[in-house]
Amino acid sequence: MDEKRIPDDGFLKGDVIRIVFNWLLIVIAAISLLAFLLYGIPALQEIPPTGRTIITNSDELKKDESYKKQITLIKRDIQRLTWRYNSYTSGLSYMVINTTDNLFYLYRNKKLIRQGHCSTGSFKMLKTEEGRSWVFKTPKGKFWIHGKTKNPSWRRPDWSFVEEGLPIPPQDHYSRWEYGVLGDYALSLGDGYLIHGTIYKRFLGMPVTHGCVRMNDDDLEAIFNTLNIGSKVFIF
């Protein structure tokens, strides 16, 4: 008969507890060390330095002519800068377009006169097997109205055919022209980008366009009547 030595039950328990306790200590020490490096050190770095500026507000200095001169100079600078900054914002009508939420805001004399939904670029990238690609996004920044058109017609660009799997026709081909799809008015922002109407009104408020800004009929009319050639359009 094979005789096996069975370890003392008490000894086994004690051993396991000690091992678990040791590992627990190691884990706690590692976490504390990590927390100290991640948060303790940055917190210590934020202890206010000793060399902070001490505000004296010396009365003697205030009586000094050079002090008065410096104060006058800095006040003049502030006035000049304020005037310059305000000169960027004229009282003319302008429009703001929020491409993240697909909203527009129309201003006249710096007052909001109309706001509502619009549709902007879908952020889709159309790729062909031949390696051509187009990104459908509305550009951001400062633009101005380059031209205004009533009853605009749309000259379909190459991507419009590629997107539908159609062969690309010659540049002056009649199939490039479509009528009535841009609504009653169009305002050009340059580089082929337009603010126009849409037949897909249920998509207003969504990012679905190829880069143009689509509007509701009433909003488009108000914008057409408010903005002039040269009016600014801010897109963000």
């Binding site: 770095q45 200095l61 104060i71 800095i74 408020g205």
Partner: protein, 266 residues
């Protein structure tokens, strides 16, 4: 047998004590190096932005301890910074900690305003009576790196159909959007702007924000650690941590260019 056990036990204890001493010494060295960093940063800023006397317009340097002058300088710096940014046609951000607002502006026109719900700012940046800091803020801060939980431009790639039989019209896009919005913008002068979403749309949003924060804290700690173990003083990056509504955070991140500019007023 008993003697051997006692010897082993005392040997292990000695080893543990030696390790503890090594770790403590390293931590002391690490802490000293890390605490030198803000002073080094301030020295670097001083050498770049300290007042240089002009022979035609000499200035009594006591003026830099005068609150009236510093207050005017504070206003001037902010205005100067905004005028510089407004001269470009780009989108920029004005942070006004004094009235807790973030303004997205283009050429002097405020196109979007967000309310700041919580502010946490480095000590060095909260010194609004320091000539050096005010001078630094007279030119815009330029973003050099972005780290974000959302994409700047959420591009979707679509392959063109070969012919009309393959063409599938676009379906209505899914505008349901609950992605957590947290990001860090690192400026060219080392300042970090952290923007976190304040509202919790989903139960996990708070946890996600913490994980985002821990991940980036680890990244910055790793940088510090590497410099310290190579016997160099780590780079100190002053921070501004803001919590704003999620929708505003998303609008601001998407609107600002990769290398966008920021003006700060506190």
């Amino acid at each position: 047998m008993e003697t051997e056990r006692i010897f082993k036990s005392s040997d292990r204890r000695a080893k543990i004590i030696a390790w503890i001493v090594i770790v403590i010494l390293f931590l002391i060295y690490y802490t000293i190096m890390a605490m030198i960093a803000p002073a080094r940063k301030m020295e670097a800023l001083k050498s770049e932005y300290c007042y240089k006397q002009n022979e035609n317009n000499p200035v009594d340097e006591r003026i830099f301890t005068d609150s009236t002058y510093l207050d005017l300088l504070h206003k001037k710096s902010f205005l100067q910074s905004r005028v510089t940014m407004a001269a470009t046609d780009s989108i920029y951000l004005s942070i006004r900690l004094s009235d807790s607002t973030l303004n997205l502006e283009i050429s002097g026109v405020t196109v979007h305003r967000a309310q700041i719900r919580r502010i946490n700012i480095s000590t060095i940046l909260s010194e609004n009576d320091n000539y050096i800091i005010l001078s630094m803020l007279s030119s815009p801060l330029t973003i050099s790196k972005n780290f974000s939980s959302i994409e700047k431009e959420p591009l979707m790639i679509k392959m063109a159909p070969k012919d009309t039989s393959e063409y599938v019209p676009d379906i209505i896009p899914d505008t349901a959007d609950f992605e957590p919005v947290n990001y860090i913008m690192e400026m060219d002068n080392g300042i970090r702007l952290h923007i976190y979403q304040e509202d919790k749309l989903k139960p996990g949003d708070g946890l996600y924000r913490s994980l985002f924060d821990i991940y980036h804290s680890m990244r910055y700690a790793a940088k510090t650690f590497w410099r310290v173990i190579t016997f160099r003083v780590p780079d100190y990056q002053p921070y501004i941590k803001l919590r704003i509504p999620r929708s505003d955070a998303k609008i601001i991140y998407r609107a600002l260019p990769e290398k966008g500019q920021i003006a700060l007023y506190f």
